[in-house]
Every structure is written in C-alpha cells, then in structure tokens.
C-alpha cells in the first residue's frame, strides 16, 4: 500500500499542472473592438484560401501571410470597402485560386459542370444496366407439365425431410 501514497503528491502536481489554458493556442487573436466587423472579417476570410497552407482558409490558418491578409481584409472592411472590393483585391493579386468558390467562367466550366456531368453519365449507365437486369428476369412461363410438378412438390404432406431421424 505504499506505492499509491508515494505517487500521490506527483499525481496532485500533475493535476494542478493541467489547466484549461494549456490547451489554448499560443497567439491570441487580435481583440475584437467591433464584433460586427470581426464577424464580417471571419465570414469573408473563410471564403479565401491561405496560399501557404493551401487546404486551409484564411480564417483557419495561422501562417504569417494568412494573418497579414486577414489584417488586410479587416482594414479594408473598416475603411468602408465592400466584400466585393476585398475579393477583387485578393483575386487581382493571387488569382481565382484564392477563392474557395471560383467564379463561373470559361476556364472553370469543367470544375463547375464536372460533377453534374459525371452524375448524369453514372446515372445513365446505372439505368441501362438495371434495365438489362430486369429484362433478364423475365423468364418464360412454366409449361403445364412443369406447373403440375411444381404443385406436387409444394403440396403439403409427409416428405422424407419430415421423417424422424
């Protein structure tokens, strides 16, 4: 019974060392002076791709460039710029690539229409192959002889299987 008592202080120390703050990110977000503005900044930067870590949005990323760009978004919205202005600012510099929802135009046609085209092709292929299966199930009706045999087989009555072992 000595071991638990020996480890008790250590256990308590470990429990004390664990603090919710330990799980918080190191750099705090800039304090929101204007919650409405901050909500707009966050909504807009969730639509913009971080160029450094390409599968994250600006809102999610902590890369230096993402923070700079988010500050740009904040500054421009604060100065009275519209969301369209910010999006134009970003695409002028980084191309359509920064947009998580690229605009519909010639070069992005395949991107937008691709899934629908694939769905239609897949749907057609499935429809055709299902159609073929149902046709295969249309077996010719039984001949009178076969019908009679079937009825005999299905008729209730002692069969070998019912016999006691």
């Amino acid at each position: 019974m000595q071991a638990p008592t020996r480890f008790l202080p250590l256990l308590i120390a470990m429990l004390l060392a664990w603090h919710p703050a330990a799980g918080w990110p190191a750099d705090a977000q800039p304090t929101a002076t204007d919650p409405v503005l901050e909500a707009r900044v966050n909504r807009l930067s969730a639509e913009l791709r971080c160029l450094v870590c390409q599968n994250q949005s600006l809102a999610d990323s902590h890369a230096d460039l993402a923070i700079d760009l988010k500050n740009q978004v904040r500054e421009q919205l604060k100065a009275g710029g519209s969301e369209q202005d910010v999006i134009r600012y970003m695409t002028e510099r980084y191309g359509d690539f920064v947009l998580y929802r690229p605009p519909l135009k010639g070069t992005t046609m395949l991107l937008w229409a691709g899934p629908l085209v694939l769905l239609i092709i897949g749907g057609l292929a499935m429809w055709r192959s299902l159609g073929r299966t149902t046709r295969r199930d249309e077996t010719p009706p039984l001949s009178p002889d076969d019908s009679q045999r079937l009825n005999e087989l299905l008729a209730p009555g002692p069969t070998r299987r019912d016999a006691p072992d």
Partner: protein, 175 residues
Amino acid sequence: MKLKLFLPLAAFVVLAIVLGVGLGLNPREVPSPFIGKPAPAFSLPKLHQPEQRLAATDLRGQVWLLNVWASWCVACRVEHPLLVELSRQNTVPIYGLNYKDDPRNAQEWLRQFGDPYTASISDRDGRTGIDYGVYGVPETFVIDKAGIVRHKHIGPVTPEVWERDLLPLVRRLRG
C-alpha cells in the same frame, strides 16, 4: 457489340492519363495573375540608404529581375550563390525586395553571403509583397522595359531554371 467490351478499359485509360497528368502538376505553383500586366507600383526605402526611395517607375526602360528575399528565408540561401554569380557577370540587373525582414539582419546576411542586388528595398510590413502576390519566398519576377511582368518563378532559381526559363526570356525581351 465487341467494342462495348473495351469501354471500361478505355474509360480506365482516359482516367489514368488524366490522373497521371494531374500528379505531375505542382499544386504549389499558383498561376500568377500578373503575367502580361504592369508591375504593381511601389515606392520603398532602399535597404542600404533608407533615406532614399526606389519606385517601380524608376526602372522603366530596362529589363530587370525582382527577387523577393529575406534573411529568415532558408531557400533563399540555395539560390543566392547563383544570383551573386549572375551579378558578377553583369547579366541582368537584379533588384531585391527584402520581404518582412529586419534591415539589420538583411544587411548582415548580404555581408555574409554577398550582395547580388543593384539595389534592395525594404518591405517591412510585407504590403508590397502582397501587391505582387508573394506567398512563398523566394520568388523572382522578370519585368520588361515597359514595366510589364513577363514571368514569375516561385522557389529558388536553380541553374536549370535560369538556363531554361529566365535567361532566354531576358534575352528575348532585350531584343
């Protein structure tokens, strides 16, 4: 009817080719929207003479390279010897955009590794970098006599890149 049997194979081959080409592309190379457009304007203090400013318009009339670098950028060290060599040969004026760097660190870095730049300018807050769509230092832009961006290279300039992409372009732009 026999042709139909080969349909899945044909579909597989097409898919394999498309995916194969896709694998070969580099997703980090975002096409720059600046190619064929005027180089974004800047007017920034020179690294060595902060009281003097350099503007993009001052460089009209010559073909020049804008090399984005920083002392904190590890990949910049990879390309640096080549840049130093190019400047020694007087191939093309290279202007350095010292991106989000402490000027003291930048100057020390150039003292240590050599200074290939006709001039370096300090972009401490990275605003000009953003104007040029910089997202991965080092980046190198080729800008023509009229101030139009002709090419952007992302990542270190290797001898192969220089021989294959940049040098022929510089020669052609010089005419």
